[in-house]
Symmetry: D3
Subunit: 282 residues, 6 copies
């Protein structure tokens, strides 16, 4: 029986925003970036995509700790509704930086519905493939969100580094910022991309200097780089896997739904837990 997955966007720009992408009445496929990269993984599922909350920061991408926490909390009611509806076998939190993931897992646990997120899924898969992974990511602020996820998810021994390509996301205070998602079109058109070059350079530095043997991508706005980056690294002689978040998260959602495993009720206890433990250790 096909598993039913709800993909929830981290946030949406208002329709009148210059950063607004796909109309809400576009097809579900059109509302997902880079669909060609992972669409086939959804073929054996029943799925839909939820637009997520309207971002409260105007024409700014989410990049700071405060912005991540805020949209994370705004997404929780949607997670709660999805889990309570009985309509979904798993919830996939889209976007890099995993806003609201821990809280959403707590909700999912109560309903027996696995909830997955892109950075967590990538790190988990990367840890399956080798000894250490590095994160290629966009900016100082976003890097530190990734850094803190590595600590929270207890991957500090498995993460070789977070590497920055210095491409801070567009926001009003940064008028000339490169729209890194839009750079995809440049590369698709076969043209050179300084951003992609930098990602290649940092990935090679991660391999040669930091000890990385797999590469993951931090911000969802650069997930499109996955096949290009992998091809470039392979061409340079590095047999290194490169992961992006949506495919990793979708596959992890299917795995957990198939196993019937959401999250440990001891790690995410109910407020009315039936049993309690005298002690917890690290």
């Amino acid at each position: 029986m096909p598993k039913r997955l709800l993909l929830i966007q981290p946030y949406t720009f208002a329709p009148d925003s210059p950063l607004y992408v796909a109309p809400r009445d576009a097809s579900r496929e059109a509302r997902l970036i880079n669909f060609e990269e992972y669409g086939h993984l959804l073929a054996d599922t029943e799925w839909d995509v939820h637009p997520g909350p309207v971002g409260p920061f105007g024409d700014s991408f989410v990049e700071t700790r405060g912005e991540f926490a805020t949209v994370g909390v705004l997404r929780l009611p949607m997670v709660r509704e999805a889990c309570a509806s009985g309509k979904w076998d798993a919830v996939v939190l889209l976007g890099g930086g995993d806003p609201g993931f821990a809280e959403a897992r707590e909700i999912g646990q109560r309903h027996g519905v696995p909830v997955v997120a892109c950075a967590h899924a990538q790190m988990t898969v990367a840890a399956m493939l080798g000894n250490k992974f590095s994160v290629i990511d966009v900016s100082e602020a976003h890097n530190m969100q990734m850094y803190n996820l590595v600590v929270q998810y207890r991957f500090t021994e498995r993460c070789a580094s977070v590497r920055c390509i210095d491409a801070p996301l567009p926001r009003p205070s940064r008028p000339g910022a490169c729209n890194v998602q839009a750079e995809k079109a440049v590369v698709d058109a076969g043209r050179a991309s300084v951003l992609l070059d930098r990602a290649v350079a940092e990935a090679e530095a991660a391999i040669e200097e930091d000890g990385a043997d797999s590469i993951i991508l931090g911000c969802s706005a650069i997930y499109w780089m996955r096949p290009h980056l992998e091809r470039r690294l392979h061409a340079a002689g590095w047999e290194v896997p490169v992961l992006e978040g949506y495919s990793s998260a979708i596959e992890m959602a299917k795995l957990l739904a198939n196993l019937g495993a959401a999250a440990s009720g001891l790690a995410f206890p109910r407020d009315d837990a039936r049993r309690w433990r005298r002690r917890k250790v690290f």
Copy 2:
């Protein structure tokens, strides 16, 4: 010159709530629990207390991951206003569980204003005093919030255990729950308290079984236990320091304000960081 501290409550119950404590027009001292424990530490400062946001969960204490994240985000505008006002040398986030702490530090860093929180301050001070601390705390759900703070703050090697006294906080779904804060009056009146007895038992188990050599308290609703717990443990022969959150946080705020140190701008980068680092490591 005395340092100016703003203490911000994690959240306030609505005035018509049975859990509502002190009227907002009460004196600043009356609006702080256990003032006799740490009031003298404020004597050389200029201070005020902000009521924090009205909690959005009705007659429920904050206890789950979702609840902590939510009130944490609600407190951020108050932190931002305080830091931007130029009126304060440091901000003290009251309450156990440190809701919104990382995000508030990010704000503080931008204004050069140190922001401190109770669990973080207790763990930092405990780590000064010995090798390993244990957390005595109220319930499964609250325990796991503490657990996750230990991980995030990178104290896993210094935390011997989180110990539970099984006193879940009052909420409508838990009508018979003990009001642990109210138990203070019982003890102040010289009567026996099962809760305090349990805290003593768990602290002794932490010392004898888990390797703790100092004790901190998890939920602010049991901070009043500090002197009682310390006395009982000393009477039992254990020369073990017991800390509570408000005094630790106030002193840490003064220390940081005196040193003129808020937080590292590299750990909490601005979205318009002037310099960027190619890599971050763990």
Copy 3:
């Protein structure tokens, strides 16, 4: 397109052995223990089961380091043949203790074929679900094999304990040994099982004393316990996931096959690696 999985047994007893189970000409389903537990996970795949090498230890189960290493090496030619054949999208190494896993992954990497194993898959999934897992396992010798896998797979911080139920596997030198796999029939018949009772007791001890929030099973001869153990623990009030190896490994194989990811070529370099790194770090 359905993924094609080859499941390879760790070893087979000789047809004349009293421990010989299913005839080689039995259906593929009949040749797999506990098929009812995970058979549905194979429904969307094309799969077969390979009998593995005939074990060189007579009527002894594999339990010591030397025995594991020996059957591990004997299984490698089968892995090599499967990977080279182009007939399989992934190889699933059956059995607890993961004999030959690292070497088999090395082979798989050369052919772009993911190879998975039961203990590694269980630990990986358990780490997705909570903070720490414990291993319930059969005997001192088998425990230490599991212990060493935890170290090799770098899960020491995530493994709360390896717990023993003192059920050493049958071997000639141990004539009265309980056939733990056969105990399944006892439980299926609704009768009490001391072995299962011990597993429950050790799992509860793992939860209450060691800090485990999920449970995995060590030896494949007790994989049948999964649903029983989970039910018993849930009945006791513990919302704790229990995993067994075959389902975890099958799902992990599908995930990796779907993502097109075998193993990092840097972690498992070819002898004719095209590029080399000056240094590797931990």
Copy 4:
């Protein structure tokens, strides 16, 4: 009530030594290096400075393991006397390298008097401010003393590196050695300092290569660099805190004295401990 602090020098040169600095009958302020950096932190205290033992190494600064251990032991009687006198609320051990610190804390614990030291205080404060700190320090031998303090204080995960500026301290066998403390006058006079330039270079390397997000200074002879180094780094765009030992130690002493916390009696047990624990763990 102001706290009473006794600051104890690590050692003093003999009056006839060319390295002898301030006469013992100079004012307490004059007997402290870099007083302008931290003097204001003492304003709300009652304090005095003890000259410490006369160093037994002639015209050599303390730099090797043996020298540190020796002056550390020589300072203990002064700590004991200060703690037993009832005249002091805290003892501040001056100097880098923290000679005798663990032993002095043991003494302080018996009298309920907190004892603090410069490296320990800097590391503790640095850990409050970010993820990782680096130590800028003078020479190979002194570096390894700092290295060993990091290990003993259990900060290995929080220390990014110890960085050397290759300025070994004056000793007879090293006639041309730069007097690094004296270099302060050069910088105060507005002239260029190669030493300071090197400290800036190593601090930038610590930030860019080692992952440091705060900087501490190792040897007290370069504590004067703090404001200069911070200014230079800020001018280069790095929002990184730089700490020196005296201010950190003074503030930590005040914090501990205010909290009434000396050290854990379990970490520093009396020889006549009233209770004992069967086991200690790490």
Copy 5:
């Protein structure tokens, strides 16, 4: 060519002390405790025993941090003289708690003479034999000295626990204290010993509760227990190695002398190091 070893006592009681053991003019064999345990290991060496410094604490054994540091420094001139003399191929620091070991190694490095100590040698050998060792030791204060050695020697992941048998060493303030060294005669005479029984009990607890798979002894005053403890544990079914300090240290001294390896000059740099490294990491 036989290696030449100088064994240096940690300290000696004054001749008029009731704790004074062997006259200084006794044979070298008579001046060593438990010679029958390890004497054969010296048979292929040329050796002598140095009485060490006269302990400055009267009729007290060394047990606290301050006492250890003090006798450690007092032993350094003897180490220096021995290393400089050219007469010895290695120096063995006798006694538990390793007073002055790091400083003595620094001296030895300068002369190319390996210096070994009992706790360090035991831990090193124990780590060769299994996964984790526990320390059986005498008292709270002595335990914490051992604890700190484990941290300094970076064995925290390999040490399961320090276990206490509550036998504080004789000192004037403790008139009824058991002379644990003297208890050897009781056991040699075939009589029951409560102390030894406790050591057995704690060793079994270390095995069953803490995960120890080898046992070392902390205080040299209980080194005599080694064969008895091992025999008792083997009789109870535990195939666990038990080590004492003198034999481990003697063998480690021979190994290092044979290999011509003293200590790394980078870990213990000379004050006039010829080369320096820009950074040191952990």
Copy 6:
């Protein structure tokens, strides 16, 4: 009484192989590479050398995970015979990469015969000498074998790096490969060696960049470099010990044989262990 050591080769080339070195009827000394480096360490022992299994890989050196596992298993019967014979006090497994070591220790434990191996011995000795060691090694594939040994032996915190000199071992698929063992003759003849130069360069990088304070050699085919590398590094001013495997292993074998310690029976349990432990921890 001299200890009796059996040295077992990892594998031997067939007599008709171009890589075949010493005839089996050569003297025991002639059958050992670099005998002049460590022969004196055998002088006080009774020893012999066993040729090991004939390698099943034709004219290929062992370099991949699969090759190591295979020869490791082939060597076990020889270890078993040696241990059971009662003729040997210790077994020394020759060769880098330690094939079959864990399994051989399990055998040795049953007979009370210590079994040692070259990489394990080098790492153990290196850890005695300083804080961190680096491994200088030949090729990507061999590097990762060393990497995995570091993980298995739990030396990740003590190993600064594995450094590669890019000298893959001869095999038919690599016709032009340098015979690194044969390069010894070049250096012995006083001629320049690019390989040795590279080893020096990587060792210096390990010291200056990775934090190594001692150096060990990975593949036995470069063990001959030890004195040359040490001399070159000392000449460059680095007082750094360099170790090779045979001498370290021989000395460790003598140490363990002298102490009468094989391996912990709890770490390497018999299949008929007399006692069992409920839990094992990390």
